[in-house]
């Protein structure tokens, strides 16, 4: 079991908090009393996605979570599993579908993602910050709708719907933020 000092916890590292692996989404050093320092952390449970906040003493030992990442290619999803492949070895890795359900809308075959493993079991995926997807269904913008809401919904190849500017047409490729699910730009 490896440990890290509270004061050395860094953003995007993985630690054990209340017995479960968490990703550190924010870590800020603070010293409220003179000399007694703390690390205020925002944590996200890598299995359940639940978020928590906790402040560690800077000199305490915190258990690091053995979370590893491997870059794999998305192959397909069936009703129970989502299957990824290592391009070098052709080894396949299956992740339970319910752990990545909310991410399937951003995955097209051959998309490369980081699959997360905790104690060698796949527990989820980290998507790239944005992905490019093809517009499969876009209606012509309605005239008169341009002043206050110059956006319209379109459907992308994975089935998700996003709000895009009116000039986007069927067949266009658009870049989408995988965190917020929002349209970023048209890609040629």
């Amino acid at each position: 079991m490896s440990t890290v000092k509270g004061g050395n916890i860094t953003k995007n590292s993985y630690i054990i908090y209340k017995g479960a692996p968490h990703r550190v989404t924010a870590a800020n050093f603070t010293s409220p009393g003179k000399g007694s320092a703390f690390m205020r952390c925002k944590l996200k449970n890598v299995v359940t996605g639940n978020v928590a906040e906790f402040t560690f003493k800077s000199n305490e030992s915190v258990e690091e979570a053995d979370v590893t990442k491997m870059e794999l290619q998305f192959l397909y999803a069936d009703t129970a599993e989502v299957v990824f492949m290592d391009e070098r070895t052709y080894n396949q890795v299956s992740v339970p579908r319910d752990l990545v359900e909310d991410k399937l809308g951003f995955l097209t075959p051959e998309t490369r993602v980081n699959v997360l493993f905790y104690n060698d079991n796949p527990i989820g995926v980290l998507l790239p910050p944005n992905v490019v997807l093809k517009v499969t269904e876009a209606h012509e913008a309605v005239a008169g709708n341009r002043v206050n809401a110059p956006k319209k919904p379109v459907t992308l190849e994975t089935g998700i719907e996003v709000q895009v500017p009116l000039f986007i047409k069927t067949g266009d490729h658009v870049s989408v933020d995988t965190d917020s699910g929002e349209y970023l730009a048209r890609v040629n």
Binding site: K18, N28, P32, G33, K34, S36, A37, F38, K57
Partner: protein
């Protein structure tokens, strides 16, 4: 270097000096380096050395203007203040803290912590009113927050906060054992942790996120973590001490002054021998400071220290490092 930001600090210094003088405080200009400084738990000095031919002596950078001011008071001075550079070792840096910063400290005779809270509030309100903000790149939101706050800042008691948010009577946790037991129950690591650390860990996790953003005074600090403060007459476990907090940031720390030379000497000797064991930076006993306390022992004073850089950074909407002109600093959010 952001000139507007460093001008904000200059202007806070000028305005503060003007306000304190108008209120009848006499300015003294403290030295930064001394052969000995007072030792307090959890405050660590920067140590340098004065090298001469065949002779070498430790010199200590001031951790606050307190010792110098108290010596001036003991020499017969009246209400007084100093604005000086201070240095705190073994602390991290962040938006609100750097190892070097400017501290304003003032002392009033025939006074106590309650009166000092009133004076502190007057000084900060006047300062914010008089402050002509140079237009920095950020909004000066805290300035407006202070200006728009109630003119009578609320007082929050640690004992009541613990009762309300933690569900525990803080007065029953004053021993190491009781605090350890409570902290263990919270799942906190207690090995190697001091009472003060566990108290602060509880505050940060359970109380601080629920405190208001408007200005307030925190009171009822445990006496055991308030070494140079008088204890409260009716509850000696608590100190006559307050902290001023604005927008979640500690800006000032004040108290009724403890002039019990014997007790302060004992506390300092204990801390000095502890640090000699651990190898942490420490000065020898500051005899002149202790003598000053002896001379003041029959008098009633109260004092407060105010973080000038923090206040300037808050008003200008930037970091302490930026008002100091030392870049953006480390560990910023």
């Amino acid at each position: 270097m952001d000139l507007q930001a460093i001008r904000a600090r200059t202007q806070v210094v000028k305005t503060l000096r003007q306000i304190l003088e108008e209120m009848g405080f006499e300015e003294v200009v403290p030295t930064v380096m001394s052969s000995a400084i007072p030792t307090e738990p959890t405050i660590f000095p920067f140590v340098t050395s004065w090298d001469r031919e065949q002779q070498k002596d430790d010199r200590f950078l001031a951790t606050s203007p307190e010792a110098y001011l108290k010596r001036a008071m003991a020499a017969g001075g009246g209400d007084c203040f100093a604005i000086g550079s201070v240095f705190r070792n073994m602390e991290g840096a962040g938006r609100w803290h750097q190892p070097e910063f400017l501290m304003a400290e003032w002392y009033k005779r025939d006074s106590d912590w309650g009166k000092m809270m009133e004076v502190t509030q007057q000084v900060v309100l006047q300062l914010v009113d008089k402050f002509q903000a140079p237009s920095t790149k950020h909004q000066i939101s805290s300035k407006f927050k202070i200006q728009n706050s109630k003119r009578n800042w609320e007082t929050l008691s640690w004992v009541e906060l613990w009762r309300e948010y933690v569900g525990v009577d803080l007065l029953t946790l004053m021993s190491d054992g009781a605090m350890n037991d409570w902290a263990k129950g919270q799942g906190y690591q207690v090995e190697g942790a001091s009472w003060e650390q566990l108290f602060n860990q509880g505050n940060l996790n359970l109380i601080e996120p629920r405190l208001p953003k408007t200005p307030y005074f925190l009171v009822d600090f445990p006496a055991r973590i308030s070494p140079l403060c008088k204890a409260q007459g009716d509850e000696p476990k608590l100190a006559e001490r307050f902290e001023l907090v604005i927008d979640g940031v500690e800006l000032g720390n004040g108290n009724s002054e403890l002039f019990d030379e014997g007790r302060v000497r004992e506390m300092m000797e204990g801390e000095i021998s502890l640090r000699k064991e651990t190898g942490e930076p420490v000065s020898g006993i500051d005899q002149e400071f202790l003598e000053a306390l002896g001379k003041l022992s029959v008098q009633q004073w109260a004092g407060v220290g105010l973080g000038v850089d923090r206040l300037a950074a808050m008003i200008a909407g930037v970091s302490v490092a930026e008002v100091q002109g030392v870049g953006r600093g480390e560990g910023l959010e």
